[in-house]
């Protein structure tokens, strides 16, 4: 895996992004739009809060019996004629996909939107094996044309404006330059329709996998998801092991929360429930349907009851839409597949804390993400927990995470121990205050990164405690 090197440069990327005026305008506009759309879908605050609790309960229940539900899902899918595969790592998942591709001698793969396939870097992998892998979601298609990565999990090309897309289409598709969005979409439609027609294999993600019925549920607006899962002779769905729900009716609250939180729609144009390949008498649909269940670090999060809540996520993107950090630096600065608050809490399990150690601290802990999350993931609390895991001694037991103690420093540990002593012993504290106020001239003018953007703190001649005591006539 080559991803770990990227998050290391988070600070540099964030720095560049903050100074890119165009990028900031694009994100500010998009986030304001998405926040307003979501708010309009939840006029009744009481209904919203009750539904969030319900969504949380549905997800927590599914996770509380996850092994059993995964087995039930497999049994029912198998009964329906779907072949289920399991992968612990992205390499295993890619190998499974590649085996299917080889068995069919496929040359062209068309993809609906799938964040798990981004985790796998499936396009890259398949291209390395001589297989064309084309994105068909308009946003993903644009991003792929520009050799970029998605900057948002719901709206992949949100960092670009119409003019930028117009130039891209003009350069890469050799069409006349136009900023007319309707025309641009029609160009995309015509280009991709031909590709749906030709593709040997369709790949999609999954929004909810229903154990009870052995069904895969996908939501989308464009129809590319239906195309990718219906036209090619083979359909491969890839998803994380946490996406399963117990019963079909459990989808009702989650679907409502998902579409209203994500894009502010009462429902998406299509809700596509797939329960098997083409039957003998049917005239279309794939002859084969495969489901790849991917772990990729999820079982690590699952092992700890606090971190497990990370797996409640239904990937609506609301946390990033409401995040002041994401809005200012955009999705690419994170350097990870999942940007924003959800990315900060899930990626450490996928790549290890070592490669992602800056992510948990790239937050002001303002709490907006936790407040909007439709399944009530306590994101700020989990961020604080990851910060702790970051600075625990690397050999401290029990170990919860790969890369524990990636920011551990003995000196820092000692400094905080000293700080605690100082603040829990009144005598020492007074002594310290006396020294700090009377010797304030000796405060160093430079205090590491703090003084890069702030002036150095300088103690007042007399402390507040001293003044208060004097005022009250004590000692």
């Amino acid at each position: 895996m080559n991803a770990p090197a990227i998050p290391m440069t988070f600070k540099c990327r964030a720095h560049d992004a903050v100074h890119d005026a165009q990028l900031r305008r694009n994100f500010r506009g998009a986030m304001d739009f998405l926040m307003a759309k979501r708010a309009a879908q939840f006029p009744d605050g009481d209904e919203l809060e009750r539904l969030r609790s319900f969504g949380n309960a549905v997800r927590a229940r599914a996770l509380s019996k996850l092994p059993e539900l995964l087995e039930r899902l497999e049994t029912n899918l198998t009964r329906n004629g779907v072949k289920v595969h399991w992968a612990e790592t992205v390499d295993e998942a890619n190998a499974i996909v590649h085996d299917i591709v080889r068995a069919h001698e496929a040359r062209q793969v068309i993809k609906g939107k799938s964040m798990v396939s981004e985790e796998m870097e499936m396009n890259h992998y398949l291209e390395g094996h001589g297989v064309d892998c084309l994105e068909s979601d308009m946003g993903e298609f644009i991003v792929q044309l520009g050799n970029e990565k998605p900057s948002h999990i719901i709206m992949p090309a949100i960092h670009l404006n119409a003019g930028q897309v117009a130039s891209l289409f003009h350069d890469k598709l050799e069409v006349d330059y136009t900023e007319d969005v309707d025309r641009l979409i029609q160009i995309g439609r015509e280009t991709l329709r031909r590709k749906f027609y030709e593709a040997d294999i369709g790949v999609s993600g999954v929004n909810f996998a229903v154990a009870e019925t052995g069904s895969l549920l996908l939501v989308e607006n464009e129809g590319n998801g239906r195309m990718s899962t219906t036209v090619p002779p083979v359909h491969i769905a890839v998803t994380g092991i946490e996406k399963v729900v117990e019963n079909l009716r459990d989808v009702v609250p989650l679907l409502s929360l998902l579409t209203r939180s994500a894009t502010g729609q009462p429902i998406t144009t299509y809700v596509n429930v797939i329960s098997g390949p083409r039957k003998a008498e049917e005239l279309d649909g794939p002859q084969e349907v495969h489901l790849v269940l991917l772990d990729n670090g999820r079982s690590q999060a699952f092992a700890d009851s606090e971190l497990r809540q990370t797996l409640n996520c239904i990937r609506c993107g609301a946390c990033m839409n409401h995040c002041p950090v994401y809005t200012r630096i955009g999705g690419h600065a994170y350097g990870t597949v999942y940007p924003g608050p959800i990315g900060k809490i899930i990626t450490p399990h996928m790549l290890g804390l070592e490669a992602t150690k800056d992510l948990p601290s790239a937050s002001s802990l303002c709490g907006a993400c936790g407040e909007v999350c439709p399944v009530k993931i306590p994101i700020p609390a989990i961020l604080r927990r990851l910060r702790e895991e970051n600075v625990r001694a690397p050999d401290d037991e029990p170990r919860h995470m790969r890369g524990q103690g990636s920011k551990y420093s003995r000196a820092e540990g000692l400094a905080w121990k000293g700080w605690r002593l100082l603040n829990t012993s009144p005598r020492l504290y007074r002594l310290f205050n006396l020294a700090a106020t009377r010797l304030s001239a000796l405060t160093p003018p430079k205090l590491g990164p703090w003084t890069e953007h702030h002036s150095a703190p300088k103690a007042a001649p007399r402390s507040l405690h001293e003044l208060a005591r004097e005022h009250l006539g004590e000692d």
Partner: protein, 223 residues
């Protein structure tokens, strides 16, 4: 050990000593706010569908074929994909024969592989039935069949759907119950809420992404 066994063993260990959370499904929460007076169901469905550029018309069991002909001629379309194996397909064919109009009728009567080119590049419109509608979200329910396969409501740029007024339900939960979805689903079940669309370029809404550019819903008030 296989990947499956390793994953399940790991998950199982993590749950040791815990009990599964009980299912206290809050049915009222997903139904009460989404329940309408009978006379409100259809207006709400129409309002929501039209808000996303769906076209809706109130008509009758006898009157709808003429509406279809109007819609086609208004768009200069002279052919339509129908199923000769459904009552509505037969009714429309009889109507065309009776009025002597030149609408060419095509049927999806062979596997897609046998006529993929024509379906993709030479079929401007289709007509299908539905299994009902949902007021809460302005949705149509489709369970594609051998007579009306999956691509019939997806590939042609114009999709005309028939909806019986008596089959408009309040919300998704009531549909799952009334139609017993959990007891047996078809290969593909769909909710369709408007023509295909995207807002992927600068949040500007554009219709006709990859599916139908237009959706016309004919509501049969007497059915």
């Amino acid at each position: 050990m296989s990947a499956k066994e390793r994953i399940l063993a790991k998950l199982g260990r993590s749950l040791a000593g815990t009990t599964p959370i009980a299912d206290d499904y809050d049915q009222a929460l997903v139904t009460t706010p989404w329940t309408y007076a009978p006379e409100q169901r259809i207006p709400r469905l129409r309002e929501l569908l039209e808000a996303v550029h769906g076209e809706t018309h109130l008509t009758t069991t006898d009157g709808w074929p003429a509406r279809v002909v109007d819609a086609l001629s208004a768009r200069g379309i002279d052919e339509l994909l129908i199923s000769p194996d459904t009552p509505h397909g037969q009714q429309f064919a009889a109507h065309i024969a009776a009025i002597g109009k030149s609408v060419r009728l095509k049927s999806y009567d062979r596997p897609v592989e046998a006529w993929k080119d024509e379906l993709f590049f030479g079929t401007p419109a289709s007509l299908t039935g539905t299994l009902g509608g949902i007021s809460a979200t302005g949705s149509l329910i489709l369970w594609p069949t051998t007579a009306e396969p999956r691509l019939m409501s997806l590939v042609p740029p114009l999709h005309i759907a028939l909806l019986k007024a008596s089959e408009v339900y309040d919300n998704l939960y009531s549909v799952l119950q009334a139609q017993s979805w959990a007891e047996g689903l078809p290969t593909n079940a769909l909710l369709v809420s408007g023509p295909s669309k995207t807002a992927d370029i600068q949040q500007t809404l554009a219709y006709g992404a990859h599916g139908p550019k237009e959706l016309i819903v004919l509501i049969l008030e007497d059915a």
